[in-house]
């Protein structure tokens, strides 16, 4: 009896690495996203490399009305074991772009938060009914404290974290584990064009660490671990000093 990992936003570089990690441990994969050509390639890759079933599925986070049907489809295609969820979709337009164009700002909130809350909401009863399983969602260190550079993005990730806390509380009775990863910079398309970021992890290292951490249970966790002391200091900085920093 093999478990299934549903990967939401499966074309993300982090998600791709996580899917390989899960497949290397024998899990079946449901690859949900928008770039169907890429998802077909990934499904082929996972099934050839690891000999597991992998299936592309169309998923649009901002199309809230589609989520109930999507979840029904997931149930239909999941393997016989537990269904687990890795939520990776998200966008990070520049703060200035979001400031200038309310549609960009709203689009980010919809994708990163509203869409996540909606699809997790629809998945809740499935997880509850199976009495087990793991949900891993990608938050960000940016959600710890609003910084000049990207506080709207940070706000969506902070909202996601709070949502996940309550979601975890609700599902804990059913034995479902919910983990919010507060991710530091990962070397993906999202960060490629940004100025050099500190403690950058490769998607592969990050995914391996995420897999190990998910095996240890729910809650929230900084990855890579170095962000725990760094963010502890940043959170404790007195506001007047923090506001002067150009971070």
């Amino acid at each position: 009896m093999s478990d299934t990992w549903l990967i939401l936003g499966a074309s993300s570089a982090v998600a791709r690495a996580f899917a390989r990690e899960a497949a290397s441990h024998g899990a079946a994969l449901l690859l949900a996203g928008r770039d169907m050509e890429d998802l077909e390639h990934q499904a082929a890759d996972l099934s050839i490399r690891y000999g597991v079933p992998a299936r592309p599925m169309r998923f649009e986070a901002r199309d809230l009305a589609s989520h109930a049907g999507f979840v029904a489809e997931c149930r239909q295609h999941a393997a016989s074991g537990l269904l687990n969820v890795f939520l990776a979709f998200g966008v990070m337009p520049e703060q200035a772009e979001a400031d200038a164009d309310p549609a960009v700002a709203a689009g980010m909130v919809e994708a990163n938060f509203t869409g996540a809350a909606s699809v997790l909401g629809a998945l809740g009863p499935v997880l509850e009914a199976q009495r087990g399983g793991t949900v891993v969602a990608l938050g960000s260190v940016a959600g710890d404290r609003g910084r000049k550079r990207n506080f709207l993005y940070g706000a969506t990730k902070a909202a996601l974290l709070v949502y996940l806390q309550g979601y975890a509380a609700r599902l804990s009775g059913a034995g479902v584990r919910v983990l919010c990863i507060k991710a530091g910079p990962v070397d993906t398309g999202m960060t490629w064009a940004l100025p050099r970021l500190p403690f950058m992890a490769s998607p592969r290292q990050f995914a391996a660490a995420a897999w190990r951490r998910a095996g240890r249970g729910g809650g929230s966790a900084y990855l890579p671990i170095i962000w725990w002391p760094v963010m502890t200091i940043i959170r404790l900085l007195p506001t007047p000093i923090f506001n002067k920093l150009n971070i």
Binding site: R34, E37, D38, Q42, D45, I48, E60, D63, G189, W192
Partner: protein
């Protein structure tokens, strides 16, 4: 789904950033705009380089010189396109994206009894890079080069069309792209036939070789071997000129217990003085004496025989900040034998601390218009980039050219345009194909400009 959402998802472009890249020899730093597509859609978008810049693909960055560099131009790094798309165990036919590496093939297919039919000396090479340099392995004398085993590839042409190219469908474009150093388009996928092997290990024989004549005789005697390679102590001169170790290998019938690869990392840029005549001489002496005078037979994993240098990640930092260059040529049998002697003497006389030099027997001429492989002997030497080393390269180029040989573009950073013209007789055929597929020269590289393509 609302239309605006679909439109937004589909118009995703690829991000560019200003950066600086180096060849594996690290002898120069090349500023450029670089994109690193994560998937096919982004590769297509990357074809539209910003500011009308020219473009070149960059695979694993294992070419020593400037084949994958485009100073002040644009570079598309293809390593993230690493999906395996299809595999047929009945035929060994593999379909893969261009960023799949030889390390991936070893990890995924060796346990199933398949290896790459031709493999360069490091597993970090991508399949796209292997195609573009039509690379050869230690079995070139009978397996030919990489392109011989490629059934077709999908080429993203400079005008944005995607074309499936096979030797039958479009022989000219096929032959221009195999070995075409990335100048005909971006390879988006390729189909290559893997080779069946009975186990995960090789039976390797090593023997000490006294001098160059002994080497050539040894290679002749080993013509039936599946793999063969010679390691020469490039500092040994006089009567021991060309002394070294000859290795031959055959697939082992029974395997070894599989152990995961573990590479050590070369920690720092070594100081420039570290590699001097004395230290290299000492190393080479140890390397030679490691093999008992009576010879040696061992069973080793494929990785260890095919990719010995991969055991130390970042070994190229050993040559310090100034970096180094590699010289590799092939010279035909007959006149080539004297040329090998001259080449080795030139390097030894220059007191240039080349670590091991590698000698191989080469088989048939590759089918690519700019393929390196041709019958004869191939000699490869590392030379630290120091004042005066360029003059040595000029002499090595002269000797190679006079012997009717050619210099390998995958390793090169100094070959002259005249030298290139003399060594690559099908260059005009190549130019004609390029004129057809890329009349506006949207694809270009430092190498292309240097050698006058």
């Amino acid at each position: 789904m609302p239309d605006t959402l679909t439109a937004q998802a589909a118009t995703r472009t690829t991000a560019w950033k200003q950066t600086a890249l180096q060849g594996w020899g690290r002898s120069s730093l090349s500023p450029c705009l670089a994109a690193r597509p994560e998937r096919l859609r982004e590769l297509r978008a990357a074809l539209e380089a910003p500011e009308g810049r020219t473009l070149i693909a960059h695979g694993g960055g294992r070419s020593y010189g400037d084949a994958a560099l485009n100073t002040d131009g644009a570079v598309v790094i293809t390593g993230r396109l690493d999906r395996i798309l299809g595999f047929d165990p009945a035929t060994g036919e593999l379909v893969a994206e261009p960023g799949v590496t030889f390390a991936d093939l070893l990890e995924v297919f060796l346990p199933r009894g398949f290896v790459a039919p031709v493999s360069p000396g490091t597993s970090h090479v991508t399949l796209g890079g292997a195609l573009a340099n039509d690379v050869h392995g230690k079995n070139h004398h009978h397996a030919g080069s990489f392109g011989e085993h490629v059934l077709w590839f999908d080429l993203l042409l400079p005008d944005g069309r995607m074309q499936r190219v096979s030797p039958e469908s479009d022989p000219a474009l096929f032959q221009a792209t195999v070995g075409g150093i990335g100048l005909t388009g971006l390879v988006a996928a390729l189909c290559v036939r893997l080779m069946r092997v009975p186990s995960n290990a090789l039976a390797v024989r090593r023997r000490r070789v006294r001098d160059l004549d002994d080497f050539l005789a040894g290679f002749a005697a080993a013509a039936g071997a599946t793999w063969s390679v010679g390691w020469i102590d490039a500092l040994a001169g006089g009567a021991s000129l060309g002394r070294g170790v000859l290795e031959t290998a055959e697939p082992a019938e029974s395997g070894l217990e599989a152990r995961p690869a573990k590479a050590r990392r070369f920690p720092i840029d070594a100081p420039g003085w570290l590699l001097n005549g004395a230290s290299v001489r000492a190393f080479n002496e140890v390397y030679w004496r490691r093999v008992p005078a009576s010879g040696q037979q061992v069973t080793v994993p494929y990785r260890q025989f095919l990719y010995p240098l991969d055991a130390i990640e970042g070994w190229n930092r050993m040559y310090g900040r100034q970096g180094f260059r590699q010289f590799q040529c092939v010279v035909p049998p007959g006149p080539g034998e004297a040329a090998l002697r001259q080449l080795l003497e030139t390097v030894a006389a220059g007191g240039n601390a080349s670590f091991l030099a590698v000698l191989k027997v080469m088989g048939p001429q590759g089918q690519g218009m700019l393929s390196f492989g041709m019958p004869g002997y191939s000699l490869a030497l590392d030379i630290p980039a120091r004042p005066g080393s360029e003059a040595i390269f000029a002499r090595l180029e002269r000797i190679t050219r006079d012997a009717g040989g050619r210099i390998y573009l995958a390793k090169d950073s100094l070959l002259s345009a005249e030298g290139f013209a003399a060594m690559y007789p099908r260059a005009d055929e190549f130019r004609a194909v390029r004129e057809q597929v890329d009349p506006n020269r949207r694809l270009s590289s430092d190498m292309a400009r240097r050698i006058g393509l």
